[in-house]
Symmetry: C2
Subunit: 139 residues, 2 copies
Amino acid sequence: MPRKDIYHECVKIALEKDGWEVTNDPLQVIVDETTLYIDLGIEPVYFAEKDSELIAVEIKSFRLQSSITSMYEALGKFCIYKTALRLSESSYKLFLAVPESVYETFFQRRLIQEVIKEYKVNYLVYDIQTTEITKWIRH
Amino acid sequence: MPRKDIYHECVKIALEKDGWEVTNDPLQVIVDETTLYIDLGIEPVYFAEKDSELIAVEIKSFRLQSSITSMYEALGKFCIYKTALRLSESSYKLFLAVPESVYETFFQRRLIQEVIKEYKVNYLVYDIQTTEITKWIRH
């Protein structure tokens, strides 16, 4: 299994505060001979109060080298995981978890905004200071 | 500029043997504040004998960690570079360069075949023993 991101625990706590239960840590997805591990599988604690969807979350700190280098890996994972979830007939909807500081700067660039739109990248924004989810953005 | 892939020179030689001239090493693409470097920009030596298209090549050895880890980065780069070429109104068509041994094994997996189809990944296959391009695959 891959090494956990440094903000793994922070995002777990933030999701729990946001009304989600972490059911898989990690979420395993198998397509024939390939086994993938998405960081978290979550579901709403109270089905009546939220949409009853299942969500898979891949956590990114964007602290490796440059932001664009981190984005290559983040987008590659997002695309491959999305295809793998479809092939394995999973009902999980995939989101990237992105730190607030990255959302406010790097994610505002035109290139990144276009990439997010073109590849329909769903993402949630987490604040490492308050340990809270501040945004959910769906495409 | 990013570090060159270990097969950089091998792919350059193979492309020259295949009738291409390397005009950019690397090929710089600028979108507002973001500058990207695709490994090579090439064009046919004899326009009359080949299509007169311009091609951008990103070289991958797939020798880093596992093949799937290499594929995350390769696909992320391919998708982001493609968006960047479109935004900068470039006429370069983008290809990944993939070693024969990876093409014959990892690239035959169902998940990878589906990912290539879904994200329309053009790629060429190079043989490191003979220093030749063995396949061009377009989507």
